[in-house]
Amino acid sequence: MSAAARAQIFDSIRRGLVRAVLPDAAGSRPTPEGRSSPPSASADALEAFTRALTALTGRVHRAAAVDMVPDLVAAIAHEHGARGFLAWDESHLGVPGLFAALASRGLERVDYDLPFDAASREAHALALAGVGVGLTGADAAIADAGAIVLAHGPGRGRLASLLPPAHIAVLSARQIWPTMPDLLAARPGLLDAGSNLVAIAGPSRTADIEMTLTHGVHGPKYLHVIVVP
């Protein structure tokens, strides 16, 4: 049935296109403009990003050097009462020796690999649901939206930025882009780096009930971004 259905739809589209009234469709394909090279680590970009994310109730922590990250992560984790954490593999976080440093501060990584079998997958996911924080890197940030951009993929699980009530991301100050169109025009390959690219602009929120803003409805209620030089 599938091939026939496909042919039916394509026939109908092609017949339609002959008669379609499509204003402004003529001419060559528009080429969206963006920067062709990564932006420099400007103080302005970091300032704008910080302002935008703070307005969304996200928190930005500046680390003067990479070796300050373990203390920052531990302090944030303890603030949220977490003892374990979900995380990307250490090699994707840009902080050598991070997991050992966190272990010595009482924080153990909870490793996982969701199985396909329905029953064991459910049990596995249930076990992860109680973990207090998630720790990830960030591939880029968007200044005007206060968003961090994460390419999830091998060794870079999605649940670390999604399941726990608090999410901590480590971002390089050199990867702050002015806008989403700038980033996607310059680095389209991000879409295919893994199965999931996500831009996160602040903690999970809803305003469905009486237009009243409430955080943490499904995703993390708290978002911390540690910016390293």
Binding site: S2, A5, Q8, I9, S12, I13, G16, A20, V21, P23, D24, A25, G27, R29, P30, P32, D89, D113, L114, A118, I142, D144, A145, A147, G153, P154, G155, G157, R158, L162, T179, M180, P181, L183, L184, A185, P188, L191, D192, G194, S195, N196, L197, V198, A199, I200, A201, R205, T206, A207, D208, I209, E210, M211, T212, T214, G216, V217, H218, G219
Partner: protein
């Protein structure tokens, strides 16, 4: 009047008589429209960006077959299963078959207009699959057995007390668990988290698909879209066949406008871009630890390709932001339910008759003052007034208008094209109406004209017509008849 017209008039009258709904609409539409203006003020060259977005959408639709073909190849190469559904029934059958084949008894769903359009929940329910809406607003709508009233704010017609009572009745919440909005939200999180962890299938819509990578973009604020597409082992994405852009760069342009137009946000909290199912381990390294093992994409036609072949094709540029609802004076007064279909507001008044035919929806193109605010606010500058006028012309050509209008308009044309007759009848009407007026106002007109004066007064005509005044003051020279 047809049954469908009568139903429309009845629901409009009900909406106008509902003070609670009016209050909610005042609050919502005003705030959303204000947020939009503020959000656009922060981007330089917003006008040029909208032009670019319009041309991207226009060019994409003009080469839709090529982009869909490319999309299918790219998605398949990354391990997706792409299915084609000419009708709503085909689409629901495809999804039901996928669920059955994998023994799915519980599915979680992220808000999606197209799944409402094809009535997927009912079909899955009939096949024994329980479907849980996971967007907070849609979850409430589902519990209440209601319909969403707004594309992006489905329960603007309900108060916090309505929701609290519903959670107590249907979910057994204790009063202290639903005491205020944060408590209600936390209760919903706990309830829905269990469903996410147990569901065998996640069902989502698609905001935009990217042709050259086979990617799907889903935009949510709550994170339910990410959970839906990450935790269950099977993800089924249902997309209208027009929701496509050629490249990542094109997606970037539309994203820069989409959330600003919808909610006044620069970006939604989660802009989720999915490229294939979870990637397995290879000899080079480990696989992905999470994500669905299967990703099915159901591409739905259901009238879209027919709509493409005509004057209304421009509506396919739509990116479903909802801005035209919030700005529309008619929507502001009657809300979403009165429109009757899945798609309310100006866009719905074109999409519903466009996809499903004018027979059932002939009133909708008339539910507009043609003020043009929708066209001005549209991020891809769709000329909605033109499309509404075109549909009105179709209703007249198909003799679907009210009988009195069919008689009255030719009669008016016959009079208005005969100046002597027109002037004589005009002065007669003026004299008659002056006789019926009180203190310079007409407050009751006879017959069908009473429809006007039940709600408003009308000033009596001046003693002398414009033409008479003109003749009295202007030199009788040029042909100003």
């Amino acid at each position: 009047m047809t049954e469908a017209s009568a139903r429309f008039h009845r629901s409009v009258a009900e909406a106008l008589a509902d003070p609670h709904l009016r209050q909610a609409l005042d609050r919502t539409t005003g705030r959303l429209a204000g947020g939009l203006a503020k959000a656009f003020a922060t981007i330089p060259d917003a006008g040029a960006l909208r032009d670019t977005a319009r041309r991207i959408r226009a060019h994409t639709i003009a080469h839709l077959d090529q982009h869909l073909d490319q999309f299918e190849r790219a998605a398949t190469a990354r391990g997706c299963h792409v299915h084609w559904a000419p009708t709503a029934a085909d689409a629901t059958r495809l999804v039901v078959d996928i669920a059955r084949a994998r023994g799915v008894s519980l599915a979680v769903k992220s808000k999606s207009m197209v799944t409402e359009e094809i009535e997927l929940n009912a079909a899955l329910g009939a096949a024994g699959v329980r479907v849980v809406e996971s967007d907070l607003g849609e979850f409430v709508v589902q519990l209440a057995d209601d319909r969403p009233s707004h594309i992006i704010a489905p329960i603007v017609h309900m108060s916090r007390d309505d929701v609290a009572r519903l959670f107590e009745d249907k979910l057994g919440a204790r009063p202290d668990e639903v005491a205020d909005i944060p408590a209600i939200t936390a209760f919903a999180r706990r309830t829905l988290r269990q469903e996410f962890l147990q569901a065998g299938m996640g069902i989502s819509g698609v905001n935009l698909a990217v042709a050259d990578t086979g990617s799907l973009c889903l935009v949510t604020n709550e994170g339910n879209g990410r959970l839906t597409t990450t935790l269950p082992r099977v993800h089924v994405a249902v997309m209208g066949l027009e929701r496509i852009v050629p490249t990542a760069a094109d997606l970037g342009v539309v994203l820069q406008l989409l959330a600003r137009s919808a909610t006044g946000q620069a970006l939604s909290v989660y802009t989720n871009i999915i490229t294939g199912p979870r990637r397995p381990a290879t000899s080079d390294g480990p696989g992905e630890p999470d994500g669905p093992d299967e990703l099915h994409i159901v591409v739905v036609d259901n009238g879209r390709s027919r709509l493409l072949g005509g004057e209304l094709a421009e509506i396919l540029y739509c990116v479903r932001c909802g801005a035209c609802l919030n700005i529309c004076p008619v929507y502001h007064h009657i809300g979403g339910h009165a429109y009757g279909g899945v798609y309310p507001g100006p866009v719905g008044s074109v999409v519903s008759p466009g996809l499903m035919g004018l027979d059932e929806w002939s009133e909708l193109p008339h539910a507009s003052s043609l003020c043009g605010a929708c066209r001005d606010v549209c991020p891809v500058r769709i000329d909605l007034p033109r499309l509404l006028l075109n549909l009105r012309a179709q209703t007249v050509a198909a003799r679907m208008g009210p009988a009195w209008l069919r008689i009255a308009m030719p009669l008016y044309a016959a009079i208005a094209t005969r100046p002597v007759l027109y002037r004589w009848l005009g002065s007669l009407a003026a004299r008659l109406s002056r006789m019926m007026g009180h203190d310079g106002w007409l407050d009751r007109l006879p017959g069908p004209l009473s429809a006007w004066t039940t709600e408003r007064d009308f000033p009596v005509p001046a003693p002398r017509s414009f033409v008479q005044e003109h003749h009295a003051h202007a030199p009788r020279a040029g042909g100003c008849e």
